[in-house]
């Protein structure tokens, strides 16, 4: 039996997938989820073999979801219209369905995945996530795992980001969260009018600065509203001055 989970925020879309799955005796639908949060919970609990995953969903997109789940099922992506995602799927031979899709197209994608499950070939969609992230222009929110919970941090609540080896520590108004991402990624995907990389190890939210002091020749200490202090290099200080129009 292939344990299958259907994830889509639109009910008619879920119904259709369920209907199309009916003739396949080896498929067992173990659940349906109407948003990304529920889906993460269900995937970690039910550990399905296969998920049908809508790319655009409230709170947590399909790609954001894949990033934080622990169990890694096979995925058939579904999307109505997302040229970037489609390009990423094609380049990486990932199975996807363009809404609306025919029964034949559905069966084709399904049989490919079933073949892979039977031969125990693991599906690799890290590349797809990477490409999708590349194309996201400016982040509005960041999804992080904190223990078994998922937290969504609104970008405006981020006070500063500190590099921690292969990870970054996101210091937000609600707390600190570790995320497996590079400083460069955040530097490129946060609004550059608000977030400035003041140092190799720090990106700060300029709305959270309380004061800037000279530390030594050519280096500065930035005091933030939450009490934290970060160092700024001379080039970082220059960027900051530009952003603050000093």
């Amino acid at each position: 039996m292939i344990r299958t989970l259907i994830i889509d925020d639109e009910e008619p879309a879920r119904l259709l997938v369920k209907k199309f799955l009916e003739p396949f005796a080896e498929i067992e639908v173990v659940g349906e989820c109407s948003d990304g949060f529920l889906a993460v919970k269900s995937i970690n609990e039910l550990k399905p073999d296969l998920i049908f995953l809508d790319v655009q969903m409230p709170k947590l997109s399909g790609f954001e979801l894949l990033e934080i789940i622990e169990h890694r099922p096979n995925v058939i992506f579904t999307t109505a219209y997302d040229s970037y995602a489609i390009k990423a799927f094609d380049q990486n031979a990932v199975d996807y369905l363009l809404k609306p899709f025919s029964k034949e197209r559905f069966a084709e994608a399904l049989s490919k995945v079933m073949g892979r499950i039977a031969s125990k070939v693991e599906q690799n969609y890290n590349e797809v996530i990477a490409i999708a992230e590349e194309k996201t222009d400016i982040l509005q929110r960041v999804a992080v795992k904190s223990g078994s919970k998922i937290e969504i941090i609104a970008v405006a609540d981020i006070v500063f980001i500190e590099s921690e080896g292969d990870y970054v520590m996101i210091n937000s108004k609600g707390g600190k969260y570790l995320k497996e991402k590079t400083m460069k990624y955040f530097e490129q995907h946060l609004d550059s009018n608000t977030f400035i990389r003041v140092h190799r190890s720090f990106i700060i939210n300029i709305n959270e600065i309380s004061r800037i002091e000279l530390f030594e020749k050519e280096s500065y200490i930035i005091k933030l509203k939450n009490g934290a202090q970060v160092k700024a290099s001379s080039s970082g200080y220059k960027a900051l001055k530009d952003a603050l129009k000093l």
Binding site: E10, D35, Q56, Y81, Q140
Partner: protein, 354 residues
């Protein structure tokens, strides 16, 4: 009216007169101081020489205009040299004979010939050059200004085209997701599927057929918005609720076609789509004398940023209202305690706009 800057523009006319008066005063002063002639004679002589020069300079404007259109430096130089020579001969002969006939015993009448010629060439060329250069200057600045104005005009009409394109653009997300809903409904509820196909067709027909008209009644717009929301309701189910509170009189008010549509698309994209709880879109329309006030309000889930996508749609609406009504204070946005509200103020349609 004659097409000449000093006749068309009062400031330039007065400027031209004052300039020549100034030259006259300076010349008279110098001539009296160094010339050792009688004051009355000096005044008459200079007034005639300057006055004739000033009058004859007026038609030079047209020659400068011709030169601006000509190509080639040689032709240009030749043109000016020829014009200057004729100009100086005409100017000097007229002035000379008038002065001599008025003052047969005066200084000019007794000057040696070579003296007269060198004076004519020197002051004539100098005056000619100054007049021509100021004409050129004026022409360049005028052309620059009109070029700038043309550019603004062009930009505006481009914007209009752009907006009409945006207006008739159908959101592909909406279209494909709706088709997917229909595909699903055909399997489970054929009757509803058929209903939805009709609604979608009516909506699309309205969208593509309204391209040419600028204004429609609020009634027609709301009919179409209802189709749109009904279709979205199939996708989102109980997550999407909507209410229309429209004053009877307001239904007949005229509004720019499809101007409200993006507001509902925004409410769905940023409110309904990003939410896991029910979202209500509330529309209120009232008449304030002959001005229509429409407000569209939706709640949204806390923590969902009203992303920058919302900005583009709103900017387009503001831009359109500004173009149509020449007023940039017709769109108001309020965003507080998880409620997003947009208010449009639609003035009555003037005859020439319709």
């Amino acid at each position: 009216m004659i097409d000449h800057p000093i006749f068309k523009n009062r400031v330039l006319g007065i400027g031209y007169l004052s300039l020549w008066s100034f030259i006259l005063i300076v010349n008279t002063g110098l001539d009296y101081y160094y010339g050792r002639a009688e004051f009355g004679e000096v005044i008459i002589t200079n007034t005639i020489f300057c006055g004739v020069f000033a009058l004859l300079s007026i038609p030079l404007w047209y020659n400068v205009g011709d030169c601006m259109r000509q190509r080639g430096w040689w032709l240009l130089i030749f043109n000016h040299l020829a014009t200057a020579s004729i100009f100086i001969i005409v100017w000097y002969s007229i002035s000379y004979y008038v002065v001599v006939s008025l003052l047969p015993e005066g200084k000019v009448a007794h000057m040696p010939k070579d003296h007269l010629v060198s004076f004519a060439i020197f002051s004539g060329l100098m005056g000619y050059t100054i007049v021509i250069l100021s004409y050129y200057l004026h022409m360049y600045s005028r052309d620059l200004r009109s070029k700038h104005e043309n550019e603004l005009l062009l930009q505006r009409s481009l914007k209009e085209v752009e907006i009409s394109m945006l207006r008739s653009q159908i959101n592909p997300h909406f279209l494909f997701n709706s088709l997917n809903s229909i595909s699903s409904l055909t399997m489970i509820d054929a009757e509803r599927a058929q209903e939805m196909v009709i609604k979608l067709s009516d909506y699309l027909r309205y969208t593509v057929s309204q391209e040419k008209s600028v204004f429609v009644t609020l009634r027609k717009e709301i009919e179409n918005l209802n189709r749109y929301l009904d279709i979205e309701k199939v996708r989102f189910g109980s997550k999407l609720l909507y209410v229309f509170n429209v004053e009877e009189l307001a239904y007949d008010a005229e509004i720019p076609v499809m101007i409200l549509q993006p507001l509902y698309e925004n409410a769905i994209k940023h409110g309904v789509y990003e939410s896991t709880e029910p979202i209500t879109i509330e529309t209120k329309a009232v008449m304030d004398e002959d001005v229509l006030v429409v407000s569209i309000k939706n709640n949204y889930q806390e923590g969902v940023p009203m992303g920058k996508g919302a900005g583009i749609g709103l900017r387009n609406i503001a831009e359109r209202l500004k173009l149509i009504y020449q007023n940039d204070r017709l769109l108001h946005i309020k965003n507080e305690s998880s409620t997003f509200e947009v208010t449009l103020i639609i003035p009555p349609v003037k005859k020439e706009q319709a």
